[in-house]
């Protein structure tokens, strides 16, 4: 019954503490007023023990017993202060967060910045929110330094995923008290649609059929040019590269092809069968983008207002996936 009551209390308390959910941009300073502190279970046990020691000292008239009890009480008070100090006046800022596919874990990088001359130890961080798994990360932040922690949270839906609320807590040094604070980091992650599993193969044959030709832009070797970011590694002209001495200013070169360019291979949302659910279509498009990149097939991309000409490379891929994640744009 007591634990049920405690559970209720905790729920209420956390609701109250969570009431402000605004994102705090930039570096956040854990002001002392937003650091809370409460005894832990061992801390409560410690209080009971102090009381028993005190009664014992009275009953047997042990003067040193009084002294000892008071010493322990004072140690607990000092511990309260040190625990508080371990967390308070810490600066926080959100770091990078790479996009992920739905179904994966979004990784948020968080920086803990200690501008004080005392090291901070055993600060536990986790994301709090409905239905989030309880995965803690512990961090130590040395004096006058910064420590980075990566916290992950499942990315379930495509689109922007804001970082959940972060809870920071510490019991250091004696474990009798727990100081904690909440932080809404200013960080979000773009979640791409989940790539369809067992998706049909790239619709290359479709293009082939129409034009009666082979793979678009892959037929005729037209020469080599300098490597540009985004060129597929499969197209590096290894023979030429091998001839050149990199020390003499030689550079990577890429083979390029002509012919068949008119017949571009396209990933077109509208050409997908209508019976498919929108999310499934997006999912299939996502899979195809990944596959086209993997096979080094340049692809055009059409989705609603987004129309991209055939290309390859991370920038193109990102643009496509971004469009898929955000479709339909609001």
């Amino acid at each position: 019954m007591l634990s049920a009551l405690e559970h209720q209390f905790r729920k209420r308390a956390s609701k109250w503490l969570m009431r402000s959910r605004e994102v705090e941009p930039g570096e956040v300073f854990l002001h002392q007023r937003r650091v809370y502190i409460m005894p832990t279970h061992p801390g409560l046990m410690f209080c009971v023990m102090l009381f028993v020691l005190f009664i014992g000292a009275i009953n047997y008239n042990i003067s040193l017993g009084f002294g000892f009890t008071f010493l322990l009480a004072a140690c607990a008070l000092i511990d309260m202060h040190l625990t508080f100090r371990n967390l308070a006046h810490l600066s926080l800022s959100a770091g990078r967060a790479a996009p992920v596919f739905a179904g994966e874990d979004a990784q948020f990088e968080l920086h803990l910045i200690n501008r004080r001359k005392h090291g901070r130890y055993a600060i536990w961080l986790d994301f709090v929110g409905e239905g989030l798994p309880n995965v803690d990360q512990a961090a130590d932040v040395a004096a006058l330094s910064t420590h980075s922690v990566v916290l992950s949270t499942p990315a379930r839906q495509r689109g922007w995923l804001a970082a959940p609320r972060v809870r920071l807590q510490t019991r250091f040094p004696l474990g009798l008290l727990r100081a904690w604070s909440y932080w809404q980091p200013d960080a979000r992650v773009l979640v791409y649609p989940q790539p369809e599993e067992n998706a049909p193969p790239l619709p290359l044959s479709e293009a082939e059929k129409k034009d009666g030709q082979g793979q678009a832009g892959q037929d005729d070797f037209a020469g080599i040019r300098n490597y540009q970011a985004g060129d597929s590694l499969k197209r590096l002209a290894w023979r030429q590269i091998a001839k050149l001495d990199v020390d003499l200013g030689g550079a990577l070169v890429t083979k390029y092809f002509e012919g068949g360019a008119a017949v571009e291979f396209a990933l077109d949302f509208d050409r997908l069968p209508n019976r498919l659910d929108q999310e499934l279509k997006l999912s299939r498009m996502t899979r195809w983008v990944i596959e086209a990149e993997a096979r080094g097939v340049p692809y055009a991309f059409r989705l609603g207002d987004t129309v991209l000409t055939a290309a390859l490379g991370p920038a193109h891929r990102e643009a496509c996936l971004h469009a898929l994640a955000m479709y339909p744009e609001t």
Partner: protein, 681 residues
């Protein structure tokens, strides 16, 4: 060639202990060491089998940790634990009470070490440790015990915090420093709490029967050797602090048990009481001498005061009264150090009028003992009928015959007094007083033996007079018509020095069975040693007075000396709150006040940043000084035009100072920046 076998066997072991231990192992070993430190003070009083059992369990636990073995299963542990608990019951015949309780706690702690699984168990072990530290105060509250406690507390704190680290674990020395640091920070608050926390005097419930064990001190009987054994003890019987100037040593008779019944060997208090409500008549002369006595626990009911106290001293929770023969008796045994105020008159007449029936009690002698003494008494009696003259005659006899004062008298037979008076003639105060009283009684003079302490040593370090067990003494009282009971000290007749000076100066102190005789007068080494001992005594006395004897009374007088009229709990609580807040503020604020130190250039820059932020032109997180300056000096900047120029100048200088070549004169750069900053306002 193969070297001897032992080192090669030792090698794996050495390798194992020299290689760094895993975190778990080192934490557990630290916990074990802490437990040993907590348990050690109890080894002295626990029965040997418990000490052995605990050591075995600790070794077992150490071995399990060291080898990385699994902990023993509960099926093995529970029967062993139950067996030892049963053994405790069998040994003490109870599991309650203090001794058995402490034994149980000790076993519980050691067994818990073998049954630790969760983090919660760590706290159970440490909290049991705290209880055991408190329990060790049952046995000793000396300064040494206090130091030991501090060491144990630091160890417990260090262990507790060692388990809290998650990633980086600093080296042991650093953790120990943090543990000690916590204790150090806690010390001032502890002092305030100790002095001001409203005290309640115990006990809250009945003291267990086994609360006290035997202690040294005067007992209520005197048989050969009783006092000479005490005289070899350096233990302190009590201390006295004189309000008035202390009297000369020869008048320092601290009266204790009065013995009137003799069976030929042992003196005991007179059991027969005629009328206990018979008033004691004392005629006092002169003004009373005031002093305060701090009595060490003796487990006896006797209280000591100079002859003769006017009123029974007031003890808290322990009424005291005069016994029928003017000895001071507390209603229950003195189990802890007590302090009382007393006032005594040194010149008095005690019961100058006394009925013949009452006096007859003090004439009783056992039949069939000491015929030669009786003969001597009869011879002396014939010479005079004046009792006072007879007393002097006997004293003269002691003085003029070859009596010797010694702490190691020969053994006496059945007719102890006869043998002493006529054969051995060597003895201690108990022999002299006993023989004197027997002689008196044989002559028909009412007489009795009084035991107590004689003398005392003023400690120049703190002005307290220390009375040790070695000052234990026995003398006699005789009843003379119109003068009442008169103190006679036959020992003084033989060895006046015993009364005038200290016992130690009368009897050469022997060590190593008399091989070396230490002479206090000539040896400066010994003098130094004595000075050292006196200083140490003073420290111990201060400890006793201020720490161990800090009672509600003492607390009240402290509060009153601070200038508060009433020392009720309200004053105390208020005072405590104020003092604790001040102390906490003093301790905690410097810890909060460790702002990061910026170099002066950076500090000036930060001032500007703050100032601009107030004006709504805060530097963005990604902005360097140049980008910021460009933004601030752009035409759409919210800054006033004259301020724009100043800020731009400042930021240019800052950029040069920070990222340009190092200027030789750093202070000039800073002062330049400061003057530019002033323009920016």
């Amino acid at each position: 060639m193969e070297k001897s076998g032992a080192p090669s066997l030792m090698r794996p072991f050495m390798r194992r202990i020299t290689q760094p231990l895993s975190r778990d192992k080192s934490d557990t070993l630290l916990l074990l060491a802490t437990c040993v430190l907590v348990l050690a003070p109890h080894a002295g009083h626990l029965p040997a089998w418990i000490v052995a059992a605990c050591s075995a369990i600790l070794l077992w636990r150490g071995w399990v940790t060291f080898r990385g073995h699994r902990m023993p299963s509960r099926n093995l542990l529970v029967p062993i634990a139950v067996l030892t608990m049963a053994a405790v019951y069998w040994h003490y015949k109870t599991i309650f009470g203090r001794e058995a309780g402490v034994a149980m706690l000790v076993l519980l702690l050691t067994f818990k070490l073998l049954e630790m699984h969760a983090r919660r168990d760590l706290f159970v072990v440490l909290f049991l440790g705290f209880f055991l530290v408190l329990a060790s105060f049952f046995y000793s509250q000396s300064i040494g015990a206090a130091l030991m406690t501090i060491a144990a507390t630091v160890a417990i704190l260090t262990t507790q915090l060692s388990f809290q680290y998650t990633g980086v674990v600093p080296p042991f020395a650093q953790r120990l420093r943090l543990g000690a640091f916590i204790l150090l920070l806690a010390a001032p608050l502890t002092l305030v709490l100790f002095l001001l926390f409203p005290r309640i005097q115990g006990p809250l419930w009945g003291m267990p029967v086994d609360a006290q064990s035997a202690r040294t001190g005067l007992s209520d009987n005197m048989s050969p050797g009783a006092i000479s054994r005490l005289a070899q003890s350096d233990d302190i019987a009590f201390r006295a602090k004189f309000v008035d100037p202390p009297p000369p040593k020869s008048r320092l008779y601290w009266r204790g048990p009065v013995l009137g019944s003799y069976n030929g060997r042992t003196w005991t208090p007179l059991q027969v009481r005629l009328k206990t409500n018979r008033p004691i008549v004392i005629k006092s002369h002169g003004t009373p001498l005031r002093y305060q006595v701090t009595l060490e626990p003796s487990n006896q009911r006797w209280l000591f005061a100079l002859e003769l106290p006017q009123t029974p001293p007031v003890l808290r929770d322990n009424a005291s009264a005069f016994g029928p023969n003017l000895e001071l008796l507390a209603s229950s045994p003195i189990n802890e150090r007590v302090r009382y105020d007393a006032a005594s008159v040194l010149d008095f007449e005690l019961q100058p009028q006394e009925s013949a029936t009452a006096l007859r009690l003090w004439l009783d002698l056992p039949q069939g003992f000491n015929p030669r003494t009786r003969e001597l008494a009869a011879t002396l009696r014939k010479r005079s009928s004046d009792n006072a003259e007879m007393v002097n005659a006997v004293l003269r006899f002691f003085r003029e015959e070859k009596f010797r004062y010694t702490l190691e008298p020969p053994v006496l037979g059945t007719h102890a007094v006869d043998e002493f008076l006529f054969d051995t003639r060597a003895g201690f105060c108990e022999h002299y007083s006993s023989a004197f009283v027997v002689l008196m009684r044989a002559m028909g003079i009412p007489a009795r033996v009084v035991t107590g302490y004689q003398g005392g040593e003023i400690n120049p370090a703190d002005g307290y007079m220390t009375i040790r067990q070695s000052d234990a003494h026995a003398w006699a009282e005789v009843w003379l018509a119109n003068r009442g009971w008169v103190r006679v000290d036959p020992t003084a007749a033989v060895s006046p020095a015993r009364i005038e000076m200290n016992l130690t100066s009368v009897i050469p102190r022997r060590t190593l069975g008399g091989l070396i005789t230490l002479d206090a007068g000539q040896n400066s080494w010994l003098a130094k040693w004595q000075a050292l001992r006196q200083n140490w005594d003073a420290v111990t006395n201060a400890w006793n007075q201020w720490v161990l004897n800090y009672t509600p009374d003492k607390q009240r007088s402290l509060i009153q000396s601070l200038g508060f009229d009433s020392a009720d709990w309200r004053t105390l609580t208020g005072l405590l709150a104020v003092a604790a807040s001040i102390v906490l503020a003093i301790v905690v604020l410097p810890l909060m006040w460790n702002r990061p130190q910026f170099d002066p250039v950076e500090a000036v820059y930060r001032t500007l940043c703050r100032r601009m932020a107030r004006l709504g032109c805060a530097r963005l997180a990604h902005e360097g000084p140049r980008a910021w300056r460009d933004r601030l000096s752009a035409s759409d900047s919210p800054l006033a035009p004259e301020r724009r120029a100043a800020v731009a100048r400042f930021l240019d200088s800052y950029e040069r100072a920070r990222y340009g070549t190092m200027s030789k004169d750093a202070s000039a750069v800073v002062s330049n920046l400061k003057s530019l900053l002033a323009e920016c306002r």
